[in-house]
């Protein structure tokens, strides 16, 4: 999520190039996590594929529209996304202990539909697919995985346990990001000379981060991330208001 502001604010990339590069990086990081989540039965692949129908169409729409939007509008949308993320992080800081308590709820995401299927899978499915379309749109427009929308959607709207919502969202992210990425790749918005090292760095960072996360104080890390997100929101808002600043 911070790659787009890093490339634009730090390296002077245009927002469309940064978003395209970020989407490719999202696929690289999500695929590894999705493989693990599916293999261990954490992700509900059946639900993920149903919701992917919404995110894929949304991502195409977002990726296509982004090519025609001025940078300042994209910057404004990104600032709004960062503020929403900051709000979610602050909520997570206060609710973290409660979520951890639910992490071992017995659910069988691998169960096909039928008597033994998880109850949440049939709940408000139409609304969830509609929400997934919005998530895909945000992904294609802003170069993120869309988990910021799909996780609360699956957890709060469909009533799936949080660990299933997170893993299922991760399962969809690759498909969503790929749908958005093609629009940028075909337009030539992704420069391989820059994207190559960035993808390698992000993949290595994700690998190392997954191991480091076990040894780092999660609350402190969330607080640090919250501060960075607020700073990025401010910078992006300034870019939207005064592009030359």
């Amino acid at each position: 999520m911070l790659l787009v502001p890093l490339l634009t604010l730090g390296f002077g990339y245009s927002l469309t190039s940064a978003v395209g590069t970020s989407l490719v990086c999202v696929i690289a990081t999500a695929a590894g996590g999705a493989a693990h989540n599916v293999r261990t039965g954490r992700a509900d692949a059946r639900l993920g594929i149903v919701l992917a129908a919404g995110t894929v169409v949304g991502a195409f729409t977002g990726g296509f529209v982004a090519g025609y939007l001025p940078d300042r509008i994209l910057a404004g949308l990104f600032a709004a996304l960062m503020l929403f993320t900051a709000y979610s992080l602050s909520r997570r800081l206060s609710a973290r202990d409660a979520e951890e308590g639910n992490a071992n709820d017995a659910v069988d995401p691998a169960a096909p539909d039928g008597a033994g299927a998880p109850a949440y899978r049939g709940r408000r499915r139409g609304l969830a697919v509609g929400g997934s379309f919005v998530a895909g749109n945000v992904s294609g427009l802003l170069g993120i995985g869309g988990g910021v929308i799909t996780v609360p959607l699956v957890h709060l709207v469909m009533d799936a346990p949080m660990h299933v919502a997170t893993a299922t969202s991760n399962f969809m992210i690759g498909m969503t990001a790929a749908a958005g990425a093609f629009a940028y790749l075909l337009r030539g918005d992704v420069d391989p000379a820059i994207a190559g090292p960035v993808v390698l760095g992000v993949a290595a960072g994700a690998f190392a981060g997954a191991r480091l996360a076990l040894r780092i104080n999660a609350a402190r890390l969330t607080l640090l991330f919250l501060l960075v997100v607020l700073y990025v929101a401010f910078e992006m808002a300034m870019r939207a208001i005064a592009p030359s600043a």
């Binding site: 490719v24 696929i27 690289a28 695929a31 590894g32 999705a34 493989a35 693990h36 599916v38 293999r39 261990t40 039965g41 954490r42 692949a45 059946r46 594929i49 149903v50 992917a52 129908a53 894929v56 169409v57 195409f60 990726g63 296509f64 071992n104 017995a106 659910v107 069988d108 691998a110 169960a111 096909p112 539909d113 690759g174 498909m175 990001a177 790929a178 749908a179 990425a181 093609f182 629009a183 790749l185 075909l186 337009r187 030539g188 992704v190 420069d191 391989p192 000379a193 820059i194 994207a195 190559g196 090292p197 993808v199 390698l200 993949a203």
Partner: protein
């Protein structure tokens, strides 16, 4: 019996999809790493001429290998869907095979539309 941290024996979906994702990512990252390394060795790390990914791959420069890796990465979720369709069919879950095929068709139609609507033509 299924446990949260074990692979359900009957669920070929889990095995096939996770294996496809792992292989696709490994191939793509290897190609990108090879391209970056070739660029460093040859001293030609600049972007190949041509706007779309097709032209970038066809330029025959170190960054073309990176472009190929980026394309492989973007194609990995498509392979993920193909694996899901095959697994659902094998498990007799025709409904989910059809939903997966619909998502795949949406992806392919979207990519084709993006290629047609893009001035450089990819």
């Amino acid at each position: 019996m299924n446990h949260r941290n074990s692979v359900p024996d009957s669920d070929e979906l889990a095995r096939w999809v996770s294996r496809t994702l792992s292989i696709g990512t490994a191939l793509a990252i290897s190609a990108i790493a090879l391209g970056v390394l070739a660029g460093l060795i040859s001293g030609d790390a600049s972007a190949p001429p041509g706007r779309g990914i097709g032209a970038q791959i066809g330029a025959g420069r170190p960054a073309s290998i990176v472009a190929l890796g980026l394309l492989l990465l973007a194609l990995t979720p498509i392979a993920q869907l193909l694996a899901a369709i095959a697994a659902f069919r094998r498990q007799g879950e025709r409904r989910y095979a059809a939903i997966s095929a619909t998502v795949l068709a949406l992806l392919v139609v979207g990519i084709a539309a993006a290629a047609i609507l893009t001035p450089s033509g990819g």
